[in-house]
């Protein structure tokens, strides 16, 4: 049985990578990917704890979370596509029509 600490370690590494990407990246798709990383690191935690102490609640919750992430990705990419059509780029720094 893999100790739960390793799952937590993996999850925190993923979370950190995602967070780092979210702060530093300017490309829309990369940002979406980073958000996925954040969500999935949370999911890993949920599943790991669920398996560790027999209780399926966490796994159910992870399923919800994955479904939610899929929906979010769908909406997000749709927005990005229409942004690309409008501006010809998805570099978020260039999309500043509403900024001062």
């Amino acid at each position: 049985m893999i100790p739960v600490e390793l799952y937590i370690l993996l999850a925190s590494i993923m979370f950190t990578i995602g967070l780092y990407g979210l702060v530093t990246q300017r490309n829309g798709i990369k940002l979406m990917m980073c958000i996925e990383l954040l969500l999935n690191s949370a999911n890993i935690n949920l599943v790991a704890f669920s398996a560790n102490q027999p209780n399926v609640d966490g796994q159910v919750f992870a399923l919800f979370s994955i479904a939610l992430a899929a929906a979010e990705a769908g909406v997000g990419f749709a927005i990005l596509i229409s942004l690309y059509r409008l501006y010809g780029t998805i570099e978020l720094d260039n999309i500043n029509a509403l900024r001062w």
């Binding site: 979210l22 702060v23 530093t24 300017r26 509403l98 900024r99 001062w100």
Partner: protein
Amino acid sequence: MYADYAYLIVAMPVLAFVLCIFFGWHLPKGGGFFTVLATFGGLILSLGIFKEIYPDKIVHQSIPWFANFNVGILIDPLAIVMLLMVTFVVTLIHTYALGYMDGDPGAARYFAEAALFTAAMLGLIYSDNLLQLFIFWELVGLCSFLLIGFWYRKPSAAAAAKKAFLTTRVGDVLFLAALVLLYNNMASLNLALKPGEYLLQFPVIYAHIAQIPPTQLTFIALCLLGGAVGKSGQFPLHVWLPDAMEGPTTVSAMIHAATMVTAGVYLVARMFPLFYAAPNALTVVALIGAFTGLFAATMGLTAFDIKRVLAFSTVSQLGFMMAGLGVGAAVGVAAVGVSIFHLIGHSFFKALLFLCSGSVIHAVGTNDMREMGGVGKYMKWTAYTMLIGSLSLAGFPLFTGFFSKDEIIKIAYEYGVQINYLPYIMLICAATLTAIYTFRLWFVAFTGEPRSDYHKHESPWIMIGPLVLLAVFALGFGFFAQSGFYQYLDTNFEHYGVDFHALGVIGGHISEAGAAGGEGAGEPFIVKILPYIIAIGGILVAMLFYYWHKLDPGLVTSERDPIRRLLLKGYYQHEIFTAWFAETVVYGVAILFNLIDIKIVDGVLNKISEVTVGFGGNLRKVQTGVVQNYITAVVLGIVVLVIVIEIGMKVGL
């Protein structure tokens, strides 16, 4: 019964103003008959009130206004004689204006403004408190501005109106200062006022003058005098009066005779107890008055504009009135009667003179008397009424001006015996000059041969009628009214129980023990007959020069004579007051103040706003609108929070 309707004396001209300004445009003669009727109604009412209160009653009505102030009507002997004079003279002037302004496209505006002018002056006269008087005073100033600038398309008229307004404004500010000072002093007495009494009401002021510190009294009196100097065209604020000739002649007649300029003299007369109690104030009044009298008379000698000559004579005669009040330091309250008598006599003959000159100008079409000449042959009525006016102004025996001016000179002599001969000497010289320049005007304009081609016709009857009526008064008023007038006016302040002896002690006019002055100490014979000599002598001098042409003015002066040039230039007043004082000194100071305003006052404010805007501008940059930056901030915040909590737990808080 008439007294119950006293407010109508002001209300009717105001109504006429409203009617003229709204409907006058569609009525014949600009609706001028409204104005005439309104002032005539005022005359009837005034006569009725006079009958009711003569000889020993006063009318006093008052309603609360706001806070410590009231609105009220006070008709005492001083006010009623002024009311009668103003309504009478102004009614005649308005009647005359019906003819004079006929055909002027702005006639409706003229009659509206003239009605308002009359209303303001009448309101000023019977105000029962100083604040109300001040309000009407300002209204008079406004109306004079409007009327002097009546032909506002003419640049010189617009400039004259502005000059009149600004010059009198200097005085008005001083008047306002006096008002504030007086109110302050009255308030600090902590009087227990009965209901219906207010701090600035004249009876209340009269009753408590003695309690105000004398130095404060002098301040107040001098500030009031400043107001009177501005309004009554005394030196050095007389510069607007000759320029005020730019308005229609009827306006000049109104300003110079009945309304406006008499207001200053009236103010000093009204506040006479205060002036009397204030040390040195009356001396200043006497000196300013006498000096103005002489100063303006010399300028009248050289003017060629027929109206300017009369304007200078007004300034000069107002100087007589002021001096008459000022020498009250020696003769006490009798000075008020003497001065106001001259004021009223003067308003009759000055209105007459102005209306006559208007009649001449109407016919000849110019103001320059060098172009007239021989007008008397074609305008008999005008010439003879003007002769009566001139004789009266010159102080020819038995004419009104003789009685009133003689009396002022007499009390000035008494003042001389007791205190200082300077006002007396100046007034004697001024009176001589008055006789000379008046008849120079008359002879040059009305006798001899025509010097230019003008319409040789008499004015219409609507203009001649008022002239004749005024001439009757200029002729007979002095002779018939004098003694009764003095008696009546002397009782004026008795109604309020003013103790002139006590006030005189405060003012230093009467020593604690001694009686009031050497009453009728017997003047030398020469002083008694001097007024006759100067009046007749002055007229003879004028005849020698301008009627018989025995003497050529060139003998006495020449073009290059510095004195003549000085007089012709009006003592270089324009150069001194306007060119030098206004344009150099005032403008320089204005530039300085402007700099201070821009650099310091504005500068500080601008700096404050700059700092604020800059700070905001910098702070704004925090709100980038880039979500990533917010995330960074949130993460950093959490990290810091975690670290702080960790450390806290370690330390064991």
